[in-house]
């Protein structure tokens, strides 16, 4: 059996998700290929080749893949799919976007958001915003899987797998990339950070997020947010943690001015340690918090920053 892992990257850097996908793949087979589809992404391919367990890297360099357009990436994967027993992508907005197209074109079901692999046909995934955990089995000839990377440990580097270039260009004329607005931040990525500090509606406005940033800088943390904070325009959408935002599982998650709605909990309740800061002692967030601190965040945050 050979497993294909679809690499997550931005054309210059391999994302941390990929090392976790490879670790998931290694539970399925010994022969693991990584597909790096992008433009000017040779550096990404060499980073993928360093991941332990990878037996071959397939790289495709073309403008058609520069922006990970689902139509093109799905056709590319389908064109090589028959060689694989399983195809894995991260359950990020990238993998979620194109993988169901791959499944549909192959006429097979997809299993989304896998948190545990029981065997080559049995997988565990959360449903109902993580309020239930389903164990499912699937006998499709090719298994199309998206993996919740927060649930798997990354493999180490130090490998030197061969890199092969593919010449498969799939370009759908009906979709055109127009523009993008990417958030630039010096801080670690939310889904990769060891510490995450998130703010909710209680932060009152975007400027007040500076209080969280000051603490984040001391802890090397990423800054996240609840949907309410994003909807209110305090911070951009890519900071949303939850059922429909990012799923994080850091060593330490600090929720500030967040009530703890089911949908928010779905994105962070697998964190190792949870701290909640909220002025309402009955806020549901306290039920999942290892350390709850009742009080006004505007008094607590500056004090916390000083104490660190």
């Amino acid at each position: 059996m050979t497993v294909l892992v679809y690499a997550e990257h931005d054309n210059s850097q391999l994302k941390a998700d990929t090392a976790k996908l490879v670790s998931a793949a290694s539970q399925l087979a010994d022969d693991i290929h990584v597909l790096v589809a992008g433009e000017h992404c040779a550096q990404v391919a060499s980073q993928a080749a360093e991941l332990k367990g990878v037996t071959r890297v397939l790289q495709v360099n073309h403008s058609a893949y520069a922006h990970q357009l689902a139509e093109n990436c799905a056709q590319l994967v389908v064109s090589i799919a028959k060689d694989y027993s399983h195809i894995l992508a991260a359950a990020t907005t990238g993998g979620k976007n194109f993988m169901p197209r791959v499944a549909a074109l192959l006429d097979v079901a997809q299993i989304s958001d896998i948190i545990q692999i029981e065997n080559s046909a049995t997988f565990v995934r959360p449903i109902y915003a993580g309020n239930a955990i389903a164990t499912v089995s699937c006998n499709e000839p090719i298994k199309i899987l998206t993996i919740r990377s927060a649930a798997f440990d990354a493999v180490e580097t130090g490998n030197n797998a061969p890199v092969e270039t593919l010449d498969v260009i799939k370009e759908d004329p009906r979709v055109r990339f127009d523009s993008e607005q990417l958030t630039v931040s010096e801080r670690p990525e939310l889904t990769a950070a060891e510490v995450v500090i998130s703010g909710g509606r209680g932060m009152q406005n975007g400027e007040n997020f500076a209080l969280l940033e000051a603490i984040a800088d001391k802890l090397g943390a990423a800054v996240g947010a609840s949907r309410a904070a994003v909807d209110a325009g305090f911070v951009p959408n890519d900071m949303q943690v939850g059922q429909t935002g990012k799923i994080v599982a850091p060593q330490l998650y600090i929720a500030v001015g967040i009530s703890g709605a089911i949908q928010h909990l779905a994105g962070m309740k697998d964190s190792k340690i949870i701290v909640a800061i909220n002025k309402d002692e009955d806020a549901p967030i306290f039920q999942v918090a290892d350390y709850g601190l009742v009080g006004d965040l505007f008094e607590i945050l500056p004090e916390l920053e000083k104490a660190l």
């Binding site: 791959v102 549909a104 997809q110 958001d113 164990t135 127009d178």
Partner: protein, 250 residues
């Protein structure tokens, strides 16, 4: 321009599900059900396009047993013109749903299909993309802004790094993210009016789609419980605990 909006009946988003004691599935008896929130946003977007004079007709389709007619009526109360209920008792995988919807697309030839990006029960996030692939259409998923202009639709998408904007040639599939719009409430007169709007019912087996299950649920269990609930007295105690007890900060 005709817009097709597939919708799903799911557990109300405020309700916390319970797992059945025999671990066969979740217990939905006497649970409040509603239209999936993302589907509601899809309906709202379609209705707004109609109000702007861009769309001429909004057709809503739902697949399930007859209870999902309730959600079709809700969508019509929000402004959809016509409903189609594909009657099916058995649970379906996203792949089946997408196949049935592909047939509807072939029959109805909509220019735009707007769906929710995921349903809050199975949390799959697959159907729109699968439909787009099978109907051979371009897709704009996780949309936070949609504008239709001369045979194209411009879609701003919420992606992990920020926002991405694509231009798709119509016909196309769009899936909604939360910030696309804020759905209206149905007014009483519109709820009354919706009762008289046409709602077709067709059995799923008339579509010639193989609906045999592809994914088998072996068991459903409750998530591991966190032993939360401990309070600390102040910042000093918090920092001390994080350092010495949890050892998560230096």
């Amino acid at each position: 321009m005709k817009i097709l909006v597939p919708i799903k009946r799911v557990i109300d988003y405020n309700v916390k599900v319970r797992v059945k004691p025999d671990n066969s599935s979740v217990d939905l008896t006497n649970t409040k059900m509603a239209m999936n929130p993302f589907c509601e946003i899809a309906v709202e977007e379609a209705v707004r396009l109609k109000e702007k004079g861009i769309a001429t007709e909004v057709l809503v389709v739902s697949i399930g047993d007859k209870t999902c007619q309730e959600q079709i009526r809700t969508a019509m109360a929000l402004g959809a013109d016509r409903g189609l209920h594909i009657d099916c008792e058995q649970p379906l995988d996203s792949l089946h749903v997408a196949k049935l919807l592909t047939k509807v697309v072939e029959q109805e030839q909509p220019q735009l299909i707007i769906l929710g990006k995921q349903s809050i029960d199975s949390d799959n996030n697959q159907t729109g993309q699968m439909l787009a692939a099978m109907a051979n259409l371009p897709q704009g998923t996780f949309a936070s802004e949609v504008s239709v202009e001369q045979g194209t639709v411009k879609v701003t998408r919420e992606i992990d790094g920020g926002l991405q904007t694509l231009v798709l040639t119509l016909p196309a599939v769009v899936t909604t993210d939360l910030r696309l719009n804020e759905p209206r409430y149905a007014s009483l007169p519109n709820i009354m009016k919706a009762k008289r709007k046409p709602l077709d019912v067709k059995p799923a087996d008339e579509f010639g789609v193989d609906l045999s299950p592809r994914v088998e649920i072996l068991k459903v269990t409750p998530p591991q419980k966190r032993s939360g609930g401990t309070k600390v007295s102040g910042v000093t105690e918090l920092v001390e605990k994080l350092r010495n007890e949890a050892k998560v900060i230096p």
